[in-house]
Each structure stands twice: as structure tokens, then as C-alpha cells.
């Protein structure tokens, strides 16, 4: 397939996944901020999505209303939900011939619906409804591509985009907790702490999964274990990297075995997650570990681009 087509489909999938993830981040933040008066949760959401600096260039202070609008709607923010949908569609449109009509319909149909949303759909009162819509859009896209695409290169590059973006986002969402400071009169293990951790589970739709796997009250190291090392958790780093490693191997096989740096990097990360222990991660420092994962995932994206998309 064309190198540019691989690039477009990869980014189409990334932007759709990012859109979905930003929506989940907003949902978690919204629910965490229900426990406090401050805008601390919103500040950490901006940090976690990597756009705190650009936000502060535009706004003097962090308020829930402004942060919400910036993360969801502001065209100046390239990772805002609506910007993601717009970019996803641009990528889809530039490679329409690589998409099934169902996939195009999922992207273009959602984009047409999204055009009717005004800033008023992104207020704290109405964001819940809008987030539900965004999740439907994400599932509709995912369903269309899982259900209608031939299992060939085009599909594999879409999968790569989805899982690289997802790994990046899971690491970032988990890191939100690090950036959150507990109120002074609250201690670790208190009600607010508990509530914050649960919100992270909710953000990745994993409250039930947690109970299913651990059958115990919410504990931070279990949540980290679930989101980093558990293969059965579809948004865990482990699950993402198992998939990335397998897909890259599949592409290599179909290209008469040609491999490059991206294959080595993905293999190393997948192995590290497969044999990693949560005790070691905490001993090293969760925040340092997650920052490193975000960086290496970014590097993997660069290597994939260099090897296949030029």
C-alpha cells in the first residue's frame, strides 16, 4: 500500500482513539471535581493531556468552564475532542479508497453530526450528554472497522494507530492521579483519595473489571497493576503492547520479513510489560515509570513512521 495511505489510516485511528480518550478523561475529571471546590482536578487534566502550557498561553487561570471548553471544543487545541474528529475526517478523506464505506460513514456521519454542536454543548451541565455522544461515535467507528475491514495491511496500520494512542492515553490518565494534590486535611487512603482513584477506573470503563479481577476494595497498586500489567484489561499498557508487537510482526511477515528499529522497540516494551512486577514499578516511582512509557511510545510512533510511512 502507499506509504501515505499507511500514514493517513494510522492517524485516522489515532485521532478517533484520542477523541474517545479525551472524553473519558473529561468524564473522570468532572466526577473528581465534584468532591472539591478547587480547580485542581482540571489543572491536572490539562497536564495529563499535555496541553497545560498552550492553555495557559490563552487563559490566565484554570477554571472548570474554561478548561472543559478547551479540552473538548476549542479549535486552537489540536487535541480537543472536536479537533480530533475534524482531523480524523481529514485523514479519512485523504484516503477514502482505503476505507470501507461503513468506516467512512462512521467518520463522516459523526463529523456531520458534530458540526451542529455549539459551544453550549460543552458546559458543565451539558457535557455529560455530549460525552455519551462522543463515546457512541468512538464505538461506531471501532465497530465499523472491526466488522467490515479486510484483514490486510490497511487494517493493521489502523490497529497500530489505535493501540499506540491508547497506550499513550492510559499512561497519561493514570498519571493524572500523580498530579493531583490531596486537600491538606485529607490523608492518603482517605475518602477523597479513594474517590479520585475510582474516577480513574471509571475513566477507562474498568470499575466492574476491577471488582472482577481483584474482588477487594479499591487500592492504588491494584489499579496501577490493572492498567499497566493485566493482559485481560483491554486498555492496559500490557494489552496494548501485546497487540502492537503482534501487528508489527504480522506486517513484517507479509513484507517478506523486513524489520526495523520499530520492531525491536515494540518487542522490548512488550517483553518488559509481560515480565514486569508492580512492586518494582512502585519502587522506581509510578510517575517516573509512566513518563518513561509516554516517551517511549512517542518514539515508537516516530520509528514506525520512518520505516513505513515515507
Amino acid at each position: 500500500m502507499l506509504a501515505r495511505a499507511a500514514d493517513s489510516i494510522f492517524w485516522l485511528a489515532r485521532y478517533m482513539e484520542r477523541m474517545d480518550n479525551v472524553a473519558r478523561l473529561l468524564e473522570a475529571t468532572q466526577s473528581m471535581s465534584g468532591m472539591s471546590e478547587s480547580a485542581e482536578e482540571w489543572r491536572s487534566a490539562l497536564v495529563a493531556s499535555g496541553c497545560d502550557e498552550t492553555y495557559l498561553e490563552k487563559h490566565a487561570e484554570v477554571t472548570p468552564e474554561k478548561a472543559l471548553l478547551y479540552l473538548a471544543y476549542d479549535p486552537d487545541n489540536p487535541s480537543a475532542i472536536m479537533s480530533c474528529l475534524d482531523r480524523a475526517r481529514t485523514n479519512a478523506r485523504s484516503m477514502r479508497t482505503a476505507l470501507t464505506s461503513d468506516m467512512w460513514d462512521a467518520v463522516n456521519g459523526s463529523w456531520l453530526e458534530g458540526r451542529h454542536l455549539k459551544a453550549s454543548a460543552f458546559t458543565p451541565e451539558r457535557i455529560g450528554e455530549t460525552i455519551d455522544w462522543v463515546k457512541t461515535v468512538g464505538n461506531r467507528f471501532y465497530g465499523a472497522y472491526a466488522g467490515t475491514m479486510l484483514r490486510n495491511e490497511i487494517y493493521w496500520f489502523a490497529r497500530l494507530g489505535t493501540f499506540i494512542e491508547r497506550a499513550d492515553n492510559t499512561a497519561r490518565i493514570l498519571d493524572v492521579k500523580f498530579h493531583l494534590l490531596l486537600p491538606q486535611d485529607e490523608g492518603v487512603g482517605g475518602a477523597v483519595d479513594y474517590y479520585q482513584w475510582t474516577s480513574i477506573l471509571r475513566a477507562v470503563s474498568a470499575v466492574r473489571a476491577y471488582q472482577w479481577v481483584y474482588r477487594t476494595e479499591v487500592k492504588p497498586w491494584n489499579i496501577a497493576d490493572l492498567l499497566i500489567l493485566r493482559p485481560e484489561m483491554p486498555r492496559s499498557l500490557r494489552a496494548c503492547y501485546d497487540e502492537i508487537d503482534a501487528v508489527l510482526a504480522q506486517i513484517a511477515t507479509s513484507h517478506t520479513g523486513r524489520r526495523g528499529e520499530c520492531h525491536r522497540l515494540a518487542g522490548a516494551l512488550a517483553a518488559q510489560l509481560r515480565y514486569g512486577r508492580i512492586e518494582d514499578i512502585f519502587a522506581r516511582g509510578l510517575h517516573e515509570y509512566l513518563t518513561d512509557m509516554v516517551e517511549r511510545t512517542g518514539q515508537l510512533g516516530v520509528e514506525i513512521n520512518a520505516f513505513y510511512m515515507r
Binding site: 502507499l2 506509504a3 499507511a6 506486517i251 510511512m309
Partner: protein
């Protein structure tokens, strides 16, 4: 005025009998609902068309009209023969003027008109296009003024567009009115992409071994016809590429793929000549492929339509097409030309300026309905302003009588009413022969009384039916 459904006397003509009856039975609300459904379908599929000025929404729909336009079997038989004849002559002309130039030496067409024409491409001299084909896809615009009167309004030999609308209009028609369509006995048109692919493969370079690799070259998603480019690539099952996806190495053209470079044999380009190769044409073109012309001249790749094919559809050269048919084919032209005055000739220019209120004046090198004057519909002031433009650069204009284009019943806000139409059939030329898809794209001027059917000027389209019996 000739109405294709009701003739000149108000009684439904035979080919339209079934449609007239059907249309009378449809309540307006049904038509309105179906029309809305059609619009939703088009927007959903993304069949949009970029409009360059006017602000607002840049992705617009070309309005689709529900009422089909019908051509009887024997009418089509005549048109088809005429189209094939004309396209053969146009290709012979192109091969000739980039070769021996016999038609000029025989004095049948003025040398200056060809050699000094901006559409004449000097870099094509002495290059024999593979299979002798220069215009692989020709769009010959026809108008009708009476039961037996068909005129060629203009030829399009470069990159005629609109075929995706022809095909999508049919698909939507069949979806909206499946039963009515099924019992109407209409010639199918769905084979067009397959025919196009066959024609393109037939002109692959001789040295090409195995199945030729065809690609569609697009300027990208901001081009007005981008939807069509994706549609054709998709339907033919070939890659849609942009200039940056191609590279010339060792005198051959390759596409950049996830597995490295792969050879390309035939390029169906939807980019104008000037943008094809920054080394030969416009240096500032970011759309083209550096070195493409050198590869083309070496014969390692085929470009369709050929570079320089535009000289055959120049509006001043148009006047000589009947002469070409006699000269190259030794036949009498079947399809008539519209009488045309060249403002560049002093005697004719005088006539044009004296009769502006009855003529249509067009730019000899323009397209898309921009920069034309429809004399009878223009104000005195507009005519005076246009006359000045003609006096300033007479060479740039031609004039034709205002033809009374046929009308077809059309669904508009006020109900069903007659509107003027034209027809663009698509002629495919390969080294294996010429084929014409039955029908073509019918364009309709939606404004009452308007004669301008271009989509950039508020025109719409209709499904076009050629009847089987």
C-alpha cells in the same frame, strides 16, 4: 422551445410516456420527501463539490433532480455514432499536429491558431502516444434544440469530470424508485469503471510486462473534483496517488509504498498539464512529479489524457472539428457544430459587437461557465462592459447564437416545471477501440429560464436514461 417530455404541442412524446404518467401520479409531498432523502444520501456518501468563491460552506452538493432525462434507443444510436466519429477525428488531429502536421500543410486549419495557441504543447512534438491515443476520456457536451437537432457545444479532451455524478445519480435513482426503474427498461451504465480500466491498461507502454499498474493522480482533497478521483480509483480497484507519492528513478516512475518503491505503468491524471512536472512546466507546482515528462518521453510510462491534448478542445479550434472529420476520416460529420464567430477576426468581431443582445459570448480558453455573457439575459450595462472587454482582447473571445436549449420537467420549489438541460456523454478510447457509456451526465439549469447549466453557477444534475427498446 422544445420540451423533451411534451414536445412542442403538449402531448407526451413516446420515450417519456411512462415517466409522464408516473410523474402525474406522484403527490408533491412524495417528491419532496424523496428529494430530501436523496440529498441526505449524497451528503452522507460525501459526494460534495468544492466551490472556489462566495464564502460559506466550501463543500457543497450539486443538486440532484429526481425526474430522469430520457433518450430513445434510435436517438442514442445516432448520438453514439456521432460521438465515436468525432472522438476518432480529435485523436487523429492530435496525433497529426504533434507529428507530421498534414492538416496544416493541407491548409485546412490556420497554422497560427495551432502553433501559437497556449494549449499547444511543444514538448509533445515527435512523441508518439502509446496506441496512438491522446484523449482517452473525452467529454463531448451536447445540446438539443428539436426532435432531431443535436449540436456539439464544446469538446473536453483534457480531464473531463462529472462521470461520478452520472454513476451516483443512477445508484440513487435505483434506490429511491426501485420498482419504477426496474420496469422502465433502461440501459445499464455501471460498467464504466471497468471499461475505463481496460482502456487505460490497453495503452500501457509496450515494454510493460504482466498486468500494467494503473494509478489515478489527484491534486488532493481540496480539489473540486476530489470525490470523483476517489470514486474512480475505488471502483477500478487502483491506487489514488498524489504527486508526492510518485518518484522518478532511472527514467521510470515508481510509487512509494510501505514496502519501498513499486513501478507504475499508466497514470490517469486529474491534474492539469502545467502542474504535472515542475522540471518541465510550472516550477512552483507542488502537485506534480519531478522528472515525469522525461520518463513519459522515454516511453516508460503512459499519461492519460496525453499532455497537450487540450489543443483539440480549444474553443477556436472547435470551429474546425467538422473539417477534421472530413480530412481524417473522409466522412460527413454526424453531429453538428454550433455556428461560431471568432472575435479575433476583424469582420466577425464587428458582427459580434453589433449583435451582442442575441449572442452568447465565451472566453475561448475558459471553462466552468465563468466569464461568459448570455446576451439576451444581460442588461444593457453588462453588455456594454463586456463589449469593452472584447475590444481589449478580441482573440480571447468567441460568440455563438443563443440556442434555445431543450427543456425537461424538473422538480423545483414551486413543483414540477420545465428547465433547460444539456448532456455530457463520456467517450472512452483505448488501443482496443472506442466505447461510449449509454447516456451521460445531464446538467440542468435550475433557475427558471436560465441557460447556464454549470454546477459552479447553480446547475443541477439528472439521471439520464437510454431506453433499451
Amino acid at each position: 422551445m422544445f420540451d423533451e417530455m411534451y414536445g412542442s404541442d403538449g402531448a407526451p412524446r413516446a420515450p417519456y410516456a411512462a415517466i409522464a404518467k408516473w410523474l402525474e401520479q406522484q403527490p408533491l409531498e412524495t417528491l419532496r420527501a424523496k428529494s430530501d432523502e436523496a440529498e441526505r444520501l449524497f451528503r452522507r456518501i460525501g459526494i460534495t463539490f468544492a466551490v472556489y468563491s462566495g464564502g460559506g460552506d466550501t463543500e457543497r452538493l450539486i443538486p440532484y433532480d429526481l425526474v430522469p432525462r430520457v433518450i430513445a434507443k434510435q436517438e442514442w444510436g445516432f448520438i453514439e455514432r456521432g460521438l465515436k466519429q468525432r472522438t476518432r477525428a480529435l485523436n487523429a488531429f492530435l496525433a497529426d499536429i504533434y507529428g507530421a502536421r498534414e492538416i496544416i500543410r493541407a491548409g485546412k486549419i490556420p497554422e497560427a491558431l495551432v502553433m501559437l495557441n497556449p494549449a499547444f504543447e511543444a514538448s509533445m512534438q515527435g512523441l508518439a502516444a502509446p496506441g496512438g491515443v491522446y484523449t482517452h476520456v473525452a467529454g463531448i457536451d451536447l445540446v438539443r434544440t428539436g426532435p432531431d437537432d443535436f449540436f456539439v457545444l464544446e469538446d473536453n479532451c483534457r480531464t473531463p469530470s462529472g462521470v461520478s455524478y452520472m454513476l451516483e445519480n443512477r445508484a440513487v435513482m435505483m434506490r429511491l424508485f426501485p420498482e419504477f426503474f426496474a420496469r422502465s427498461g433502461v440501459e445499464p451504465i455501471a460498467r464504466y469503471p471497468e471499461m475505463l480500466l481496460r482502456a487505460l491498461q490497453s495503452v500501457a507502454p509496450r515494454a510493460c510486462e504482466g498486468e500494467p499498474t494503473v494509478v489515478v493522480l489527484t491534486p488532493g482533497q481540496f480539489n473540486s473534483a476530489y470525490y470523483e478521483h476517489t470514486f474512480l480509483a475505488d471502483e477500478m480497484g487502483v491506487e489514488l496517488v498524489e504527486g508526492a507519492d510518485l518518484v522518478v528513478e532511472d527514467g521510470a516512475v515508481f510509487k512509494r509504498t510501505t514496502q519501498g518503491l513499486q513501478r507504475v505503468d499508466v497514470i490517469y491524471r486529474r491534474i492539469d498539464d502545467a502542474f504535472l512536472d515542475p522540471l518541465t512546466f510550472r516550477r512552483d507546482s507542488a502537485l506534480g512529479v519531478a522528472g515525469l515528462m522525461a520518463a513519459y518521453r522515454k516511453g516508460t510510462v503512459t499519461i492519460a489524457n496525453a499532455v497537450g491534448a487540450g489543443i483539440a478542445d480549444d474553443k477556436a479550434v472547435y470551429i474546425y472539428v467538422p473539417e477534421m472529420i472530413r480530412f481524417y476520416l473522409g466522412e460527413d460529420p454526424l453531429l453538428k457544430n454550433v455556428p461560431t464567430w471568432q472575435c479575433g477576426r476583424e469582420d466577425e468581431c464587428g458582427y459580434v459587437l453589433d449583435h451582442l443582445e442575441e449572442l452568447v459570448v465565451k472566453e475561448a480558453r475558459g471553462s466552468g461557465g465563468y466569464g461568459m455573457l448570455v446576451g439576451p439575459q444581460a442588461s444593457t450595462k453588462e453588455r456594454a462592459a463586456f463589449a469593452q472587454k472584447i475590444r481589449a482582447t478580441p482573440d480571447a473571445y468567441i460568440a455563438q447564437p443563443t440556442l434555445s436549449l431543450s427543456t425537461c420537467p424538473t422538480f423545483v420549489d414551486s413543483g414540477v416545471a420545465p428547465r433547460h438541460v444539456d448532456l455530457r456523454p463520456f467517450v472512452l478510447v483505448g488501443s482496443n477501440g472506442i466505447e461510449v457509456t449509454p447516456g451521460g451526465l445531464t446538467r440542468v439549469a435550475l433557475k427558471e429560464g436560465s441557460l447556464v447549466v454549470n454546477s459552479s453557477q447553480g446547475g443541477g444534475t439528472k439521471d439520464t436514461w437510454v431506453l433499451r427498446g
